[in-house]
Amino acid sequence: MAIDRAQVRHVARLARLALSEEEEERFAAQLGHVLEYVERLQAVDVAGVEPLSFAGDAAAGLSLREDEPLPCLPRDKVLAQAPEHNGEAFLVPRILE
């Protein structure tokens, strides 16, 4: 299945990825190649099959616990990993013009 540069740009925007022209071209070809490979799934008879999204211990997914407040990470330790902060919050560039 072919995928063109415009589709690549659209998907890149959804994924918040700035791509160079060279990357757009390369990804268009490579994604097309992979999509062509996965096309084979269209031929599988899945009529009446329930999708499987969790292949673990069914009891684990269902267990509930009391909603108790527990200590969380100290704010200064968390903020210390941020590219920019003011000691209370994460700082980001301007959102509105």
Binding site: R16, Y37, V44, A55, A59, A82
Partner: protein, 486 residues
């Protein structure tokens, strides 16, 4: 006796008997890393100070007769996907360069509580995406059997560190084969436990419905000891199971007499290298000779596994990796506006394979394509699981090759993503079905490269799986020439 060459279980015995101290064991490991890792590049960084403190404490516990068990004082190393408090954790990516997590992953905490001495963080494909460790932003790891070849991936650093005897044990993660395939390509044992057997809290997420943590060691006994230390319920991972954790090492010597072992015909078809097939068939014959009842089975939906995997895994990855936005941790690009900051941060921080998978995952989840790709893949996934359920009605475990080839050359598959993906053709189905799988060495090809034999077990039946794996593994583990100083 060279303490650094001891397998994990014997290192534990040597500590317990007083033949070697944890401090001496650590220094031997560090000396080997200094001597060999310049050529291998298994380690991204060492945690020497923390390790020396831990080894000293273990030595004191041993002196006062208060040993914490089989891992007390044993050096281990961690794939750089595990958060360790205060220690840089990059996941092989530039986007996390300098990130020092404020907490330990549950498995790291459990290893520390068991007395293990953590010596450092190991190389990996960026965000565990790859099958050769060449996608690391910090350069590839090399195979100890042939430095011009890859050790496989994504846990290539973990596999190499164990195979070259830099450490007796290591942890990795396996989303589509990332423990088993490198274990096969370097000739050590590597286990992917059942989905839910080991907590993923503090493990950097790739594809959350597939990711599982597991151990590497020279032999199955070492793997059993590490699994016992890390397995078990964790309230911080909702998917972790509260089933009891057995003593995995206890039953290893029971043998395979009377156990039914299935050989899936779909795993021995086109694409399997003849020399790999020969070594694996010889391994199967050893299981038969030991009393295993070997029978042919069919897993008819296996040919769909790679396509299913690359839809499910990339879709989940595109969602998980949305968190790398330059706001809370890691790299941030210079930009005057928020959207531009996101796009440039991610463009600068992610490597080519990660971008490719984010793009594919975003595409298959995007409006108009969800049903055709993601939903359909989840249904095929159900069929793959059903194949295994049906097979396990008549067998106790399944045996196959781990990887279709032995170690390939560095660079060989870097320009052809699909060829790289197909290197996981035999390992991916166990992840899709949530089953435990292990790779153990079963021979060598004519180039002297190791061949791995894979065993897949029933959910939460790691005991039987390890028991069969122990019967299948060689009694003598050959050392790579480089690890013998040649």
């Amino acid at each position: 006796m060279k303490p650094e060459l001891l397998p994990l279980s014997q290192a534990a015995d040597a500590i317990a008997s007083g033949a070697v101290s944890p401090e001496a064991l650590l220094e031997a490991s560090l000396a080997r890393i200094r001597a060999l890792d310049g050529r291998l590049h298994a380690f991204l960084r060492l945690t020497e100070n923390e390790a020396r403190t831990a080894a000293k404490a273990a030595t004191q516990r041993r002196a006062s007769g208060k040993s914490l068990g089989p891992l007390d004082g044993v050096p281990v190393a961690l794939k750089d996907i595990f958060c360790m408090e205060g220690v840089e954790t990059t996941c092989g990516s530039k986007i996390l360069r300098g990130y020092a997590p404020p907490y330990d992953a549950t498995v790291v905490r459990r290893l520390k509580q068991a007395g293990a001495v953590i010596v450092g963080k190991l190389n990996m494909d960026e965000f565990a995406m790859g099958s050769s460790t060449e996608n690391s932003a910090y350069g590839p790891t090399r195979n100890p059997w042939d430095l011009t070849r890859t050790p496989g991936g994504s846990s290539g650093g973990s596999a190499t560190a164990v195979a070259a005897r830099l450490v007796p044990g290591a942890l990795g993660t396996d989303t589509g084969g990332s423990i088993r395939q490198p274990a096969a390509l370097v000739g050590c044992a590597g286990l992917k436990p059942t989905y839910g057997r080991v907590s993923r809290f503090g493990v950097i997420a790739f594809a959350s419905s597939l990711d599982q943590v597991g151990p590497f060691a020279q032999d199955v006994r070492g793997v059993a000891h590490l699994l016992a230390a890390i397995a078990g319920h964790d309230p911080n991972d909702q998917t972790s199971s509260s089933r009891p954790v057995p003593d995995y090492a206890a039953g290893l010597d029971q043998g395979v007499r009377g156990l039914r072992i299935g050989v899936p015909r779909e795993y021995f078809g086109e694409g399997l290298a003849p020399e790999v097939e020969k070594a694996v068939r010889a391994g199967i014959e050893r299981l038969r000779a030991a009393g295993g009842e070997v029978r042919e089975i069919s897993l008819p939906n296996s040919p769909h596994a790679i396509a299913t995997y690359y839809i499910v895994a990339t879709a989940e990855a595109s969602s998980n990796l949305a968190r790398y936005d330059g706001v809370r941790y890691g790299h941030r690009a210079k930009a005057s506006q928020l959207l531009e900051m996101y796009e440039k941060t991610r463009a600068e921080g992610f490597g080519a394979e990660v971008k490719r998978r984010i793009m594919l995952g975003t595409y298959v989840l995007s409006a108009g394509y969800y049903d055709a790709y993601y939903l359909r893949a989840q249904k095929v996934r159900a069929l793959i699981r059903r194949d295994f359920d049906q097979a396990f009605a008549s067998v106790d475990a399944i045996v196959s090759p781990t990887s279709p080839t032995t170690a390939f050359k560095l660079g060989e598959k870097m320009d052809d993503p699909l060829a790289m993906y197909l290197s996981d053709v035999y390992t991916v189905p166990a992840n899709l079905a949530g089953l435990p799988g292990i790779s153990v060495p079963c021979g060598f090809d004519s180039k002297g490269l190791p061949v791995g034999l894979q065993l897949i077990g029933k959910p939460f039946d790691e005991e039987t799986l390890l028991r069969i794996a122990h019967a299948a593994e060689p009694s003598e583990h050959r050392l790579p020439p480089l690890a013998e100083g040649r």
